[in-house]
């Protein structure tokens, strides 16, 4: 693929270089890592090498990239079962993610968690939670610790539009606000709550943004397919959190290119909707952006090649890796390393 040519209409928009080329290349590279690894995960599923379920972020890469790029080391990510993107965005190697999906010994958790529970504490990825809403209070608690100890890290909690209708959403945001905690709640509104349009099951048009006022928070609704917008919004929210000004609730508009999970062909979508959104594919948006800022297309192509090579090598390594050792079946149930519940 090559970078798209500039569009004259957009060239009239004043260019803002507060982000800078290095960060922009990083944003692009992260989005490409996610795109390639997610596409590969899907291919491996079709080859019956990825078992169980998986929930892809194809089309939602800009959110993961923007929020992760604006983080500092030590900041903490809390993800849902749609967590591959956020895990990769914090720098976890694609091989470990794909290995986990494939149940191989080189997997991030050696196959004990699977696709929906990707966790890498050393990268600040504090878990992927498969029960809707569960991790909003947990991220709030991590932020409570930061405030109590005077630590400077921010907890960032990603969730989908469907999560805004479960009770834990309300409980967590209310607590975070009254305690002024350094936590950022990020709603990735991809328009569908699993198989149902979110608009059909929600009292307000914007499931997160329109509820912000109920918690005394600013209404923040952004284009989740533009990594620059995401990055700037994230940076502001983190600064606010670090300054002791409390949480933010950010709704990012986006669209998932695939179904809810691997089992879902997404036939409930109106005709043409996917195609319309694909015109605003975050990767295409960002290639345009890079071109607009005069980044040479060769530089972009180099990144594309490098990323594809990483994902190819990761795939080969995973295919060659042995299945998870069954020696670990009974380990780490309790802190003593074992599983004994009685003497």
């Amino acid at each position: 693929m090559t970078a798209k040519p500039r569009k004259p209409a957009e060239a009239a928009i004043p260019l803002n270089d507060d982000i800078g080329e290095d960060v922009r290349l990083g944003l692009y590279r992260t989005q490409m890592i996610i795109r390639e690894a997610e596409q590969r995960a899907y291919d491996l599923f079709l080859q019956n090498l990825v078992k169980g379920t998986s929930h892809l972020s194809l089309g939602q890469e800009a959110i993961a990239a923007g929020f992760a790029m604006a983080m500092k080391p030590g900041d903490l990510s809390f993800c849902t079962y749609r967590g591959h993107a956020h895990t990769l965005a914090r720098g976890v190697e694609p091989e470990k993610v794909l290995g986990e999906l494939m149940g191989r010994d080189n997997g991030l958790m050696r196959g004990k968690g699977g696709s929906m529970h990707l966790t890498s504490v050393e990268h600040g990825v504090m878990g992927s939670y498969a029960i809707i809403g569960a991790h909003l209070p947990i991220a709030t608690g991590a932020a409570w610790r930061a405030k109590y100890r005077g630590d400077s890290d921010v907890s960032v909690c990603f969730f989908g539009d469907g999560t805004t209708n479960i009770g834990a959403f309300h409980e967590a945001i209310n607590l975070a606000v009254i305690w002024k905690l350094p936590v950022v709640f990020v709603c990735e509104n991809n328009l569908y709550m699993e198989y149902t349009p979110i608009s059909e099951v929600t009292a307000v048009a914007q499931p997160a943004a329109d509820r912000a006022s109920a918690y005394g928070l600013e209404r923040i609704l952004i284009d989740g397919n533009d990594a620059d917008v995401v990055y700037r919004t994230a940076s502001q929210a983190y600064a606010r959190a670090r300054a002791g000004e409390g949480p933010s609730l950010i709704e990012c508009l986006t669209y998932r290119h695939s179904g809810h999970s691997r089992a879902d062909p997404a036939k409930y979508r109106p005709e043409g909707e996917l195609e319309d959104w694909k015109k605003r594919d975050p990767i295409l948006v960002y290639r345009d952006r890079l071109a607009k800022f005069g980044v040479a297309s060769e530089k972009v192509a180099l990144i594309d090649d490098e990323v594809r090579d990483i994902v190819d090598k990761a795939t080969d390594a995973c295919k060659a890796a042995p299945p998870t050792s069954t020696d670990i079946l009974f380990t780490d149930v309790y802190a003593d390393g074992g599983w004994a519940w009685r003497n």
Partner: protein, 326 residues
Amino acid sequence: MAELTYRDAVSRGLAQEMERDPDVVLIGEDIGKAGGVFKATVGLFDRFGPERVCDTPISEQAILGAAMGAAMTGLKPVAEIMFADFLGVCYDYIANEFPKSRYMTNGQVKCPLVVRLGNGGGARFGAQHSQSVENWCMQFPGLKVVSPSSPVDVVGLLAAAIRDPDPVMFLEHKSLYATKGEVPDGEIVDQLGVAKVLRHGGDATIVALGMMVHRATAASERLKAEYGIDCTVIDLRSLVPMDTRTVLASVAETGRLFTVEENPRVLGWGAEIVSIVADEGFYDLDAPPIRITAPNIPLPAADALEDLCIPSVDRVVETIRAALVA
């Protein structure tokens, strides 16, 4: 040595650990300025301040979730769920989050927290404020479940629970809060998973938990005085880890096993004990084990009805007498 109520033992145990470790923080409804609806945290807010004794909204999911997030990142939170029945609105953390976080992350995530719960009946609060929820907790691999019956055990087991690296459900019995017992001065730290043999006797083994320990003990005294039946009474103290060795050793001596459980009969902890004894101590048994439990119905409120449900001293005496003397 001082005489302390069970409720004062809770605040003493918490204070002992908070004094020792600044990472120990408390979170719950009305636990701070109000001192807890059961007055089990009186004095801690004044002593340790609002940063460490944190009043929350009525948000049980936020309480347990926040405790977990804090525990994962270095604190040792002690959360209070006022009435154990309220676990129903935050069960996800008990069922899916606390106990599985370590395993499914291949040991990366740690969850060293304690959840204190006002458990059990006898206070005429009806079906939604009186339940014994120990079975709700013990079915999840990864959790520990503790239930003290005396003030000294409250202090020692609470300290052990707070120092434990695993998530611990700490079931305080509401009807025991006003009871008193001797508690030695100075630091007390007990051990989880060690049952206490409160009384030795060769005729039968009675295993009990929480408030049922007191009824089992009173019953054993009457059985001895009125019928000459000499019972061993074991206070299990912790369901996970469970001290099955002590139970099996006692059954080997007595040949008879009775469990006294406040929970409804189906899937009560006693069923697990009976199953283990059937597997591993079958040839020590002289007769089928007998479970004395609440019937499998919601708990009613009225005195006359609730008293019929929760095993009474009379029922324990009569059941054991009938089994041994008939």
